[in-house]
């Protein structure tokens, strides 16, 4: 089930909010949330909810085992088994076909009979809940958190529906106390509703329409794209991925607040970054900090030789790329970012700092946009052709950007440009002390935005057959 669906908005959400509000104890609320979260997941994934339950069981009991272990050697061994099991599940469900496909290429060059593997279903959100459960075990191993002995709480931590399928990747330490005891205050609830509305609007009014343009242009034969059309496609995709992903985080954070949880921020206006390093401090913060804390720092962080640090950055970002999907495109995207992070660390950053601020932003956006081409393209050949189109190397292009410039798309592009900067929160802060009528107008605007988003959502499934007669 996705948040931007009528079933979620009109059935699941009211049911959860009503039930959660009527229950008075934290334990009762936790049990209720666990049941509804499992229902939420099973509604979309059916029997694959068992995969998530398996991850919960493995990591819950492993954490207890680690906490109980008499010596460091046993603790370490338990940790390794747990990580192998958890990541093994990820490999089976997410990477098995990718591995076999690549293995077959090697086998065929060696004239060995290739292997056949049926397409394996990818349970939605598996990357998130596996990383979340692994982080819990690692925190217990490192003594950063107390072990949780109630499996219902570990299960709730992993399965809590707002952050289950698209993050943010919540750390156990951040919500442990809230699972123990939480109160729901009216102002926090109202703030959660406001955040949810903003997320829903970002998804439906900005990400989806611009995603349509991006889909059209990335779905077109790359050899027929004019440079303007190719750039429009990647810009629309950049907006789509940002507004889609950050909208989901907004909705998760908003829902969390309505339920009494406080999740950390996941995005901080990444497109205003003036370097790739800054971009990663602002983009998908919960993932980048996960990789920093559980991979980059254990590999040595920045306490080792410069060369080794650069190499580690490439390794970390290579894996970060593959985390996004089982394809070489994602690996290439990760490597591109890793490369620029290494270059900036090696001295490029100092040189960039001397440039005018506009050029620093231009440099960052250029690297990020090139990265999005790798991320969005079907395969390497498509990415290369697309980049050629962006460079204006197509001899007789037929696709041109203005074809997509209807008033609605232009307005959406303008709104997307404005809302990917911190203009709205600045405006909101300025207006906050201007009296009750301004506040009333702001809330009225949000309610209108909600109605408009819902109307657009319902319309988005309006897909009549041309011969259909009402």
């Amino acid at each position: 089930m996705v948040f931007s669906s009528t079933t979620f908005l009109f059935v699941f959400l009211p049911m959860v909010l009503l039930g959660h509000t009527l229950l008075r104890t934290t334990t009762g609320r936790n049990v209720f949330l666990l049941i509804t979260s499992l229902l939420f997941y099973a509604w979309g994934e059916g029997p694959f909810v068992l995969v998530m339950l398996a991850a919960i069981f493995i990591n819950h009991f492993a954490a207890i085992q680690i906490a109980r272990a008499p010596d460091a050697h046993t603790r370490k061994r338990s940790l390794i088994y747990t990580i192998v099991c958890s990541l093994g599940m990820l490999v089976v469900f997410k990477y098995a076909n990718f591995i076999v496909d690549n293995l077959n290429i090697v086998l065929q060059t060696l004239s060995i009979k290739p292997l056949y593997l049926m397409p394996v279903h990818l349970p939605i959100g598996i990357s998130f809940f596996i990383f979340q459960s692994v982080s819990y075990v690692l925190d217990v191993y490192r003594g950063d958190t107390e072990v949780q002995r109630k499996i219902s709480r570990t299960a709730l931590y992993v399965a809590l529906f707002p952050q289950l399928i698209a993050g943010p990747i919540v750390r156990y330490t951040d919500v442990a106390a809230q699972m123990q005891d939480r109160t729901i205050r009216r102002d926090a609830f109202a703030a959660g509703v406001q955040r949810f509305i903003i997320g829903l609007a970002k998804k439906i009014l900005l990400a989806d329409p611009l995603g349509y343009v991006a889909d059209q242009l990335f779905g077109a034969p790359a050899g027929a794209l004019g440079a303007d059309a190719a750039w429009l496609g990647v810009v629309c995709y950049a907006f789509q991925i940002y507004f889609d992903f950050s909208a989901y985080s907004d909705m998760a954070i908003g829902l969390g607040r309505m339920l009494g949880f406080q999740f950390l921020e996941n995005f901080n206006y990444p497109y205003i970054a003036a370097s790739v390093r800054e971009f990663w401090r602002r983009w998908h913060i919960s993932l980048s900090t996960w990789f920093r804390d559980y991979l980059y720092i254990p590999l040595g962080g920045s306490r080792i030789t410069a060369r080794r640090t650069y190499f580690n950055l490439l390794i970390v970002f290579f894996l970060c790329g593959l985390w996004h999907g089982a394809s070489w495109n994602f690996a290439a995207w990760g490597l591109l970012h890793g490369l620029f992070l290494a270059l900036e660390r090696a001295g490029l950053d100092r040189w960039i700092q001397r440039l005018p601020v506009v050029l620093r932003h231009a440099y960052t956006l250029f690297v990020v946009l090139i990265g999005w081409v790798l991320f969005r393209a079907e395969d390497g050949a498509h990415a290369w052709q697309y980049l050629q189109a962006m460079a204006g190397w197509n001899a007789a292009p037929t696709y041109y950007a203005t074809f997509y410039f209807d008033p609605e798309t232009l307005l959406t592009l303008l709104a997307a440009t404005v809302f990917c900067t911190p203009l709205y929160p600045v405006l909101e802060r300025r207006l906050s002390g201007q009296g009750v009528w301004v506040e009333a107008l702001r809330l009225l605007f949000l309610l209108g935005l909600f109605a408009f988003s819902v109307s657009t959502l319902v319309n988005s499934t309006y897909n009549p057959f041309i011969y259909f007669r009402f």
Partner: protein
């Protein structure tokens, strides 16, 4: 005061959720959707996803403000239609844009989206197979292309939509040498001075456009089916005000967007309809059978789409017997075989030549590959213990990009059976005779082929040859 405002905000938000919930369940109860519930996929979301589509369909049928409000807002404030299927043109003209994913009439007519080599090759193959099968039955085959409205009236498109290239037909038609093709585009473009040939807010030509198309068609048919068409003064031409057509209906504005439309009536019709004479139309219109004993020409079979609906009365005048079979992109070899006409007219509207391709029926496909398979470059030869093994082995064969694997399966069942091939979500059946070697040819378009089995799951060995087209 601030506290009151926040409380009011929360109550309104909850009220909106409650209203949405009430609407959701009310439509569910009234629509009878509960009786249609089918388990789709592996999870309950299959049911709610289907219901969400039904929910919107019913709200739009009821002209609910949730739908019409947004439609009106976009129409008036942004000068755009609220759905991507329709492009709002100039001077009240509407155009079909993206009918379904992958079939964008606008991109096609403006020459923006060229065929990929593989697509062009596949269309050529589909038409060639139909022509070869028809000719083998002793009939003539003619392909007729009806232009998109956008190809005839691009001047009414918004200024941002400009012609970028020659278009798909210019790419495809030279490939069809040896096949009789009648492209009606030029004749319609040349006759625009006679009056408005297409509806403003419908995808189709009006009756005047249909008459002009009929005249061009009769002049272009191959001998002995070519005949001088009736002149325009042999019909009564009137202009009437009609409610909006299919495009206006898509926008839920058919009662608002009226237009003047041509009405053409034959002064002295000779042909009479024998079967399927109900004048109602839709995607499931029955085949129509006309007779005109005074006509000179013998029997004709039209495999057509909605465009030929208004052409039928004129064309039927010329043939002693004419059968009109409505099937989008289709080619009904069975009906043609039953009718035994001298001429088969296979009509396509221009936009039907992009996007999803039809797959010819097994007899048409088998006939073609029986003749052509051995001439293909051979890729592999396998001997498999079962069809399941054959399926896996074929899937693993590396095929270069842009090539279509064609598979010849040789099966020798002990009892009469059928080979079942699952293409996408449809099953196609190939009869197998008992005790003899049956060769079945399959176009193995990945990933459309999902499964391969024999009825009643009889296991048997199978020899496989794979060629590439």
């Amino acid at each position: 005061m601030n506290r009151f405002i926040h409380t009011a905000f929360l109550f309104t938000f909850c009220g909106m959720l409650a209203y949405g919930g009430w609407l959701y369940w009310r439509v569910f109860a009234e629509s009878g959707f509960s009786k249609q519930i089918k388990w789709v996929g592996h999870a309950p979301s299959g049911i709610t996803n289907a219901y969400e589509l039904e929910f919107t369909r019913i709200l739009s049928a009821q002209r609910h403000p949730l739908i019409t409000g947004l439609a009106g807002l976009k129409w008036n404030a942004l000068d755009v239609s609220f759905i991507r299927k329709v492009e709002k043109g100039r001077e009240g003209w509407l155009f079909l844009k993206e009918e379904v994913a992958g079939r964008n009439e606008l991109l096609q007519s403006l020459g923006i989206r060229p065929y990929l080599d593989f697509e062009r090759k596949m269309w050529k193959l589909i038409i060639a197979q139909r022509a070869a099968w028809t000719n083998a039955q002793g009939m003539q085959y003619v392909m007729v292309v009806v232009p998109n409205k956008t190809s005839i009236y691009p001047e009414y498109l918004p200024a941002r939509d400009r012609v970028a290239g020659p278009g798909n037909l210019t790419q495809l038609l030279p490939d069809l040498s040896g096949i009789q093709v009648i492209n009606l585009t030029d004749s319609l473009l040349n006759q625009k001075h006679t009056g408005q040939l297409f509806h403003k807010n419908d995808t189709h030509w009006n009756e005047l456009g249909a008459f002009v198309a009929y005249q061009s068609l009769m002049r272009a048919l191959p001998p002995p089916f070519r005949e001088t068409p009736m002149p325009l003064d042999s019909v009564v031409l009137e202009w009437t005000t009609t409610p909006g057509g299919d495009l206006a209906r898509l926008l839920l504005m058919d009662s608002l967007l009226l237009e003047r439309a041509a009405r053409v009536t034959l002064r002295n019709p000779q042909a009479h309809c024998e079967t399927g004479c109900d004048s109602s139309y839709g995607p499931f219109m029955p085949s129509k059978h006309f007779r005109n004993p005074r006509a000179r020409l013998s029997k004709v079979f039209f495999d057509h789409d909605s465009f030929f609906r208004s052409l039928i009365p004129y064309v039927a005048e010329h043939f002693q017997e004419s059968v009109f079979y409505w099937e989008w992109q289709g080619f009904n070899d069975y009906e043609i075989g039953q009718a035994q006409p001298g001429l088969v007219v296979d009509e396509f509207v221009e936009r039907s030549l992009i996007g999803d391709r039809p797959r010819n029926n097994p007899p048409v496909l088998q006939h073609y590959w029986q003749q052509q398979f051995d001439a293909l470059p051979q890729l592999a030869r396998l001997s498999c213990k079962s069809l399941r093994q054959a399926f896996r082995q074929i899937e693993l064969i590396g095929v270069e990009a842009g090539a279509l694997p064609v598979v010849a399966l040789e099966l020798t069942p002990t009892s009469a059976s059928r080979l079942i091939v699952e293409y996408d979500d449809k099953e196609v059946f190939y009869p197998l005779e008992a005790g003899k070697k049956n060769t079945v040819y399959l176009e193995w378009e990945r990933p459309r082929v999902k499964d391969l089995r024999v009825e009643r799951d009889v296991e048997m060995g199978v020899a496989v040859r794979v060629g590439t087209y």
